[in-house]
C-alpha cells in the first residue's frame, strides 16, 4: 500500500528543462510545486568540475550523464509485425538522468522552427495541393502559429542567453544571419560565436555556390551575460568537451545555471530526487488526475496527491507514462485509431566528410557544442518541393564540436576497419578533415509509434515502452535530394577526397544519430488526432498537461530545444492566466 503524502498544488514528473521552467513560474505565482526526478541532484559545483570532466571515456563513451537503461529502457523494432527487442545499451539517442536532464549534456544549438512547420498540413495543401503527398504522411497543424509562439521564443532565448546573428532588425536587413528564419521581435541577446576553421572552409564554398551561410545560434555564451532572472554566465572557452558533458565554466546554458536556482529560491518549490514515477493516478468519473505514484530511494511506493499533474519527462517517456496509466486512447497501427503514442518522429541525419592534405591543422579539438556555420537554403520553407515528391528539409552545417579521438577519427570510405592501414589513415586524417552535417526533418507515418512492450519489463515490473520506427519513404527521398547538394558543397571545399554517408539502410538503435525524439503525445486542434490541445493540456483530463518534444506533431529540420522551451513558457502563461483561477478544459 502506497504511503500517501500531503497534497501539493502541482506535481511535475521530471527534473529537467521544462520542469525547471514550470517550477519557477508556478511556484513564484504562489503554488506549491514538487518536481519528481528519477536521478540525483547535479550542479556545476561539485559535479561538473575540471579537469576530470574532460574524460571522453566516462561521459562520451560510457554516457555518464545519460539514462541508466539497466533500470528502464525501451524495446525497439523497425515495423509492425517484427519482434521487438530491448535496447540493452544506449546508442541512437541519449536521454538525460538526474537534475537538469538532457539540457545538461546538450550542445546548445538553439534554432527556431520556420513558421511553415506549425501549419504544415495547411501549408502543403495550399501550396502544393491536397494530393501532393500519399496518405501515409500524417503531418498535421500544431494548433498554434509561429506568430503566437514568437514572444515565447524571444523570452526563452533571453533566459538562455542565446548568441547569434539576426538577419533583420524589424524590416531592416542586417545581412549575415539566416535569411530563411521567421521574423524576430528582438535580436539575439548575445553576439555569435567565433568561427572555426571548418566553418570558414564551409562558408567559402557555400557562399561560392550562392547559398547563405551564417553562424549557428548558440547557447554557449559569447560574452559575460546576466539573464532576466539574474543568472550570471561566463564566456565559452571552446574547450571541446560540451556535447555529452556538463559545463565547468558556467558557459553553457542549462537548467542548473539559468533557471533552477530561481525556482529553488521559492519556498513553494521542492526538487525531490531519486523518485521514479510509476503512473499517473486519475479519477475516471471526475475526469481529473489526482496525483502520481512513485518509488523512492528506499524502494517504497509513494502517492503524491496533486491538484495538477504535468509530464516533463523525456519525449518518449511521456506517452509511455500515459499508456502505463491507461489515460486516453492508445494508438493502434492496425486500425490507425487512437492518439497516445501516435506520430512518433525523429530526425533524418546524413553527413559528408571532406579530407584535406596532411598538415591542414583543422584542430577539431578546439570546439564548442554549438560552434558551427550553417546554411538554411534546404529547409522546408526555403525551397520549392514541386515535382520532388516529398515534403520537409533541413539545415546543413559544419560543426566543430567534438574532436575527441575515441569517437572522432574519420577515415575515407573503403579504409579497412583495423590494422596497419586503418591506423595510418587515422593518423593521417584526424587533424585534416571537415565534417558536414545535414540535419533533416522527420514526417510521421502510421507505422511509427510508441506502445507498450508485450514481453520485457523494467526494474519495477512495468512493461517497457516499445518504439516502432523506420525512416519513412518521404524522408529517404528528402535526405537523398539534400545530401546530393551537400556533396556538391563538399566537392567545392578544396579537399583531396570526400566520403558521403547516404541514408540507405533501416533505422538502427545502435549508432548515435540525435536525441531529438518527438511525438507520441502530440498537440493539435482535434481530440481525434491529438493528445493535448494548443495549450498542451490533455483533452481527457483537464488538469494533466504535457511538456517537451513529445507534443510535436512532426519534427522539423532543426534541433528541438528552442521550441521546447518556448512551448513551456507558452503553456505556463496559459496555466497562470487562464487555467488556475478556473480549472477547466481551455479548448
Amino acid at each position: 500500500m502506497a504511503t500517501r503524502l500531503p497534497p501539493v498544488d502541482v506535481v511535475l514528473v521530471g527534473g529537467g528543462l521544462t520542469a525547471s521552467i514550470l517550477g519557477k513560474e508556478l511556484a513564484e505565482a504562489g503554488n506549491t510545486v514538487v518536481a519528481l526526478e528519477r536521478g540525483k541532484m547535479r550542479d556545476t559545483v561539485p559535479d561538473f568540475q575540471s579537469p576530470t570532466m574532460h574524460d571522453e571515456l566516462k561521459y562520451d563513451v560510457r554516457y555518464g550523464l545519460a539514462q541508466d537503461v539497466s533500470v528502464q529502457t525501451l524495446s525497439f523494432r523497425n515495423f509492425v509485425g517484427q519482434r521487438p527487442l530491448p535496447m540493452r545499451q544506449l546508442g541512437s539517442f541519449l536521454p538525460g538522468e538526474g537534475v537538469g536532464g538532457g539540457a545538461v549534456h546538450w550542445n546548445g544549438q538553439t534554432w527556431r522552427f520556420q513558421p511553415e512547420w506549425f501549419e504544415l498540413r495547411s501549408w502543403v495543401n495550399e501550396r502544393y495541393g491536397e494530393d501532393f503527398l500519399p496518405d501515409d504522411v500524417t503531418i498535421q497543424d500544431w494548433g498554434i502559429t509561429y506568430d503566437e509562439l514568437e514572444p515565447y521564443y524571444n523570452h526563452f532565448e533571453r533566459v538562455m542567453g542565446i548568441g547569434g546573428l539576426p538577419y533583420a532588425d524589424g524590416d531592416v536587413v542586417i545581412g549575415g544571419g539566416n535569411p530563411f528564419e521567421g521574423p524576430r521581435s528582438q535580436p539575439y541577446p548575445n553576439p555569435p560565436m567565433k568561427q572555426s576553421y571548418s566553418g570558414a572552409l564551409f562558408e567559402e564554398a557555400a557562399a561560392g555556390l550562392g547559398y547563405h551561410p551564417f553562424p549557428v545560434p548558440s547557447a554557449n555564451m559569447t560574452r559575460h551575460y546576466t539573464n532576466p532572472f539574474g543568472a550570471e554566465l561566463q564566456p565559452c572557452m571552446y574547450c571541446g568537451f560540451c556535447e555529452r558533458f556538463g559545463c565547468e565554466h558556467y558557459a553553457k546554458a542549462s537548467p542548473q545555471v539559468n533557471i533552477l536556482p530561481f525556482a529553488m529560491a521559492s519556498r513553494n518549490f521542492e526538487m525531490r530526487t531519486h523518485a521514479y514515477v510509476q503512473r499517473i493516478e486519475w479519477d475516471p468519473v471526475a475526469k481529473v488526475a489526482t496525483g502520481v505514484t512513485y518509488i523512492n530511494a528506499a524502494g517504497e511506493e509513494i502517492f503524491q496527491p496533486a491538484g495538477m499533474v504535468v509530464l516533463c519527462a523525456f519525449a518518449h517517456h511521456n506517452p509511455v507514462l500515459m499508456l502505463q496509466s491507461g489515460i486516453g486512447h492508445a494508438y493502434d497501427p492496425e486500425t490507425r485509431t487512437g492518439t497516445v503514442g501516435r506520430n512518433y518522429s525523429y530526425q533524418t541525419m546524413t553527413g559528408v566528410d571532406v579530407f584535406y592534405a596532411d598538415g591542414r591543422n583543422i584542430n577539431p579539438f578546439m570546439g564548442a557544442g554549438a560552434l558551427g556555420t550553417a546554411i538554411d537554403d534546404f529547409n522546408n520553407g526555403s525551397m520549392d518541393h514541386s515535382g520532388l515528391g516529398f515534403i520537409g528539409g533541413g539545415y546543413v552545417a559544419a560543426y566543430q564540436t567534438n574532436g575527441r579521438p575515441i569517437k572522432y577519427h574519420p577515415v575515407p570510405s573503403g579504409t579497412p576497419r583495423w590494422g596497419a592501414e586503418w591506423k595510418q589513415a587515422v593518423r593521417r586524417h584526424y587533424n585534416s578533415t571537415v565534417g558536414l552535417t545535414f540535419h533533416g526533418s522527420s514526417v510521421p507515418h502510421p507505422n511509427n509509434y510508441i506502445g507498450l512492450d508485450p514481453t520485457y519489463r523494467d526494474a519495477f515490473g512495468q512493461p517497457l515502452g516499445m518504439l516502432t520506427y523506420d525512416f519513412p519513404h518521404n524522408d529517404r527521398l528528402m535526405a537523398r535530394y539534400v545530401t546530393e547538394k551537400v556533396r556538391d558543397i563538399a566537392l567545392a571545399m578544396g579537399g583531396d577526397e570526400i566520403s558521403v554517408g547516404w541514408l540507405d539502410d533501416h533505422y538502427n538503435i545502435v549508432a548515435y544519430q540525435t536525441t531529438h525524439n518527438t511525438g507520441g503525445t502530440i498537440m493539435g486542434d482535434d481530440p481525434q488526432t491529438s493528445v493535448v490541445n494548443r495549450y498542451l493540456q490533455s483533452w481527457d483530463l483537464h488538469n494533466l498537461w504535457v511538456m517537451g518534444a513529445s507534443v510535436f506533431p512532426q519534427n522539423a529540420g532543426y534541433n528541438p530545444t528552442d521550441t521546447v522551451g518556448a512551448l513551456a513558457y507558452w503553456a505556463a502563461d496559459a496555466m497562470l492566466n487562464q487555467y488556475m483561477s478556473n480549472p477547466r478544459p481551455l479548448v
Binding site: P51, R417, D505, I509
Partner: protein, 250 residues
C-alpha cells in the same frame, strides 16, 4: 608536436607482460620495471599496480595482448596497442562496472542472432563475453593449427583468425563471433585513445599520434587562428600540474 619516441619513452615501455612488446623501429625490448619519477612518495607508499591484472589470467592476457597489437599494430613511427597498454585498460574495464554490465539491460528473453540494427542482444555481460570469446577462439585456433595458440601464429595468421571472427566465419559454439570481435575492437580503440589514467594510451601515445591535446581547459585564444599548429604537449586529467592549472584558471 613531437614525432616518434625518445629513449626515455622507450624506457617507459617497462611494465608490460612478458609478451614481446613491439617497439618503434621493430625493436624488441624487455626492459625492467622502473618506478616513474615521483610516483611513490616516501613514507606514504602506494602499492605498485602497473602490470597487475585484475581480471584476465595469464593465458587470457597473452591472447588479448597479441590480438590488440594486430588491431592497432606498431609501425615505424608509432607503437601499437600492445605497447600502449591496451591490455591493462581492458583488464580494468572488465574488472569493474563495465565488465559486469552495470548500465546494460540484460533481462531475457535473448535473441543472439537478431539483425544488427537491434544492437547487443546476448545474455552475457562484457566480462562473460570475453571469458567465453577468448576460450572458444583459442579452441578454434588449436583445432586448425596443429594445437598452436593464437599468440603463436605469425601476424598474417592472427589477422586471418581476427577476420574470421569479424565476418562470423569462425562459428564459435556459445556466442556470435562478430559480437566478440566488435566488442574487442571498440575496447581496443578506447584503450588506445582514452585518458592514460585508465591504464592504456601509455605516455599519451594515441593522442600524440593524431595530435589531440587531451584535457586542456580553453582554446578561446587560438580557435580563430585557422590552421595553426598546436604544439603544446598533451595533458592527462590525472596530471597534477594540469589539475592545479585548471583550478587556478578559475
Amino acid at each position: 608536436m613531437s614525432q616518434g619516441l625518445s629513449r626515455r619513452d622507450l624506457l617507459k615501455a617497462a611494465g608490460l607482460s612478458s609478451a614481446a612488446a613491439v617497439l618503434p623501429g621493430g625493436a624488441q625490448a624487455q626492459v625492467p620495471v622502473q618506478p616513474a619519477e615521483g610516483a611513490v612518495h616516501a613514507g606514504h607508499a602506494q602499492p605498485e599496480t602497473e602490470g597487475l591484472l585484475f581480471f584476465f589470467n595469464d593465458e587470457e592476457a597473452q591472447f588479448i595482448e597479441a590480438a590488440v597489437e594486430r588491431l592497432i599494430p606498431a609501425d615505424p613511427e608509432w607503437p601499437g596497442a600492445g605497447w600502449a597498454g591496451v591490455l591493462y585498460y581492458i583488464d580494468r574495464q572488465l574488472a569493474a562496472g563495465y565488465g559486469a554490465g552495470a548500465r546494460m539491460y540484460l533481462d531475457g528473453p535473448w535473441v543472439p542472432d537478431a539483425p544488427p540494427q537491434f544492437g547487443y542482444q546476448l545474455r552475457q555481460s562484457p566480462a562473460e563475453l570475453y571469458r567465453i570469446g577468448i576460450a572458444e577462439t583459442r579452441l578454434f585456433v588449436r583445432e586448425r593449427s596443429n594445437q598452436q595458440e593464437f599468440w603463436d601464429l605469425d601476424p598474417g595468421g592472427m589477422d586471418r583468425v581476427l577476420q574470421a571472427l569479424e565476418s562470423g566465419e569462425a562459428a564459435l559454439p556459445s556466442i556470435p563471433s562478430p559480437v566478440f570481435f566488435e566488442t574487442l575492437l571498440a575496447n581496443t580503440i578506447e584503450g588506445f585513445f582514452a585518458d592514460p589514467a585508465y591504464g592504456g594510451n601509455r605516455d599519451m601515445v594515441g593522442w600524440r599520434m593524431v595530435g589531440f591535446p587531451g584535457a586542456y581547459a580553453a582554446y578561446i585564444d587560438v580557435v580563430e587562428d585557422h590552421g595553426v599548429a598546436f604544439e603544446r604537449r598533451p595533458i592527462s586529467f590525472a596530471d597534477q600540474q594540469a589539475r592545479q592549472d585548471h583550478i587556478h584558471g578559475h
